[in-house]
């Protein structure tokens, strides 16, 4: 795969050198530069996204919506494909290692797939029917929900990484959804339990709807819902959410593809980077402790919330468009907080496992 990538970009470089540029057209060297830039960016996005247990779209979509003038339907469609491929790329290592639980992913996909398909169709309908105000209100509401989950997750502490299930309901028992796995960081077999599978299905259906509508990916909400509602250990939830996103977005992405919102030459360079970054990210996840993942996840959720709320307020005309520097400053502050928390220098957040 790496060899194909290197050869392809060398070939692009050779072809584009000295090629003629038509009037008002973009030079082939610039196009090659753009394609390579997309590849590098997608590699980084996928590696971070997989370790944090979110779809790559959760990082891609707010960034592109905040910093580029590209049509939102194209960004959302591409965001879903990115989320899907980062999930698919991590599926192999997660299923092989046993951390990912295929039964859990298949079960949740029954709700996520239907919700996601309805959400994607809704996005296309809204794009044709309603104005910018409706989109602004929805973004602010979504930003609030994401922030609330992040804060709850932050306060959940030690118990959320390894939840203690006191009572398994009969439906979850009947499903037989759990399976033991070998936890490398603890060097022992973890035989966990799950509960409230019915509510988990309802939650993933709603999450699918939001994901399909916004093209955000859904790991940012699936991981907490599996962890907080179904009481699945955080690391298993992260891995299973990757499998679920890859599977579920195979349903959700098609309405965008049939509407022409996914433009092949624009999407292509993102995929190679995503697959390579996703595989590397999945191998890193198998070795790292759940505490680090929790803090990265919280950081990403807070930043996503910031992006959604500010964009919503801009759409409604309450504030002017924020300069790119404001987003960079917010990101740096959040990243600093995450790094401090991982290092244990942030006493309030440093619960540890």
């Amino acid at each position: 795969m790496a060899a194909v990538v290197i050869l392809s970009y060398l070939a692009l470089l050779l072809i584009s050198r000295g090629a003629e540029t038509p009037h008002e057209g973009m030079a082939l060297t610039s196009i090659t530069g753009l394609l390579f830039g997309f590849f590098l960016l997608s590699f980084v996005i996928a590696a971070i996204a997989v370790v944090a247990g979110v779809g790559g779209g959760t990082i891609f979509t707010p960034f592109m919506l905040a910093f580029t003038p590209i049509d939102s339907l194209i960004i959302r469609g591409t965001g879903l494909i990115i989320a899907m491929f980062s999930g698919l790329a991590s599926t192999g290592p997660f299923t092989k290692s046993g951390i990912g639980n295929l039964k859990l992913s298949i079960y949740c996909c029954c709700g996520y797939g239907i919700g996601g398909f309805i959400g994607a169709q809704g996005a296309l309908w809204v794009a044709n029917q309603t104005g910018i105000n409706g989109e602004g209100i929805i973004r602010i509401a979504l930003g609030g929900i994401v922030l609330a989950i992040a804060l709850y997750f932050l306060r959940g502490g030690v118990k959320r990484e390894w939840p203690e299930v006191k009572k398994v309901d009969s439906f979850t028992q009947w499903l037989g959804i759990t399976q033991p796995y070998y936890e490398k960081s603890l060097e022992q077999v973890v035989d966990y339990k799950a509960t409230r599978a019915g509510w988990g299905l309802v939650a993933t259906c709603g999450i699918g709807m939001i994901s399909g509508f916004f093209g955000l990916g859904a790991g940012w909400a699936i991981v907490p819902s599996m962890n907080l509602i179904m009481e699945i250990p955080l690391k298993v939830a992260v891995a299973s959410s990757g499998i679920l996103i890859g599977m579920g977005n195979c349903i959700t992405v098609w309405p965008y593809l049939h509407a022409g919102a996914i433009i092949p030459l624009f999407v292509a360079p993102w995929l190679a980077g995503l697959v390579m970054g996703g595989i590397i990210g999945a191998h890193v996840l198998i070795r790292v402790r759940a505490t680090s993942i929790r803090f990265i996840l919280i950081g990403i959720m807070v930043f996503s919330s910031f992006g959604l709320v500010t964009k919503g307020l801009v759409n409604l005309g309450y504030i002017p468009s924020l300069p790119g520097a404001a987003y960079v400053v917010a990101l740096l502050i959040i990243m600093a907080g995450v790094v401090l928390a991982i290092m244990g220098k942030f006493p309030k957040f440093g619960g540890g496992s």
């Binding site: 072809i15 038509p22 049509d71 295929l102 098609w254 433009i263």
Partner: protein, 140 residues
């Protein structure tokens, strides 16, 4: 304590997804080379495509301005020799790989002991949902 055995169905699903995903990624990596090497053999002209995207134009306008209008989601079926048709083929493999993997998983569930008929049916149900979505059956 011995490491627990990974269920066959899970191994089968992971392997199918891994290789189909790699295939899709390889096609999407080679695709831009094909598109740039034969500029006239594309639905959209790469020289103008990125400018139009960067100007914030809608998908319909982009397909119309830099091509001859949107040819439909499955245009690759009759245009595999074009640059963007080839890339679309790679995208389609990626976007439908879960349906193929789930069908193989369903067979594995049927063969596993104890047999897991319920999980096999759920796998087939999701595979059917992906196929219906891919066919544009319920497209608005």
């Amino acid at each position: 304590m011995d490491k627990p055995k990974i269920p066959l169905s899970q191994v089968v699903y992971g392997r199918f997804i891994y290789w189909l995903c790699i295939t899709a990624a390889v096609i999407c990596t080679i695709g831009p080379v094909v598109a740039i090497a034969s500029l006239d053999n594309n639905f959209t002209n790469p020289h103008y495509l990125f400018t139009a995207i960067w100007e914030g134009k809608s998908p319909e306008t982009i397909w119309l301005q830099v091509g001859k209008g949107f040819p439909g989601g499955n245009f690759w079926l009759h245009n595999l020799n074009t640059g963007d048709g080839f890339i679309q083929f790679g995208l389609v493999i990626g976007c439908s790989c879960a349906s193929v993997a789930l069908m193989a998983t369903a067979i594995a569930y049927f063969r596993e002991k104890p047999r897991a008929y319920g999980w096999a049916l759920l796998s087939l149900w999701i595979a059917v949902m992906i196929i219906l979505s891919a066919m544009g059956t319920y497209q608005t």
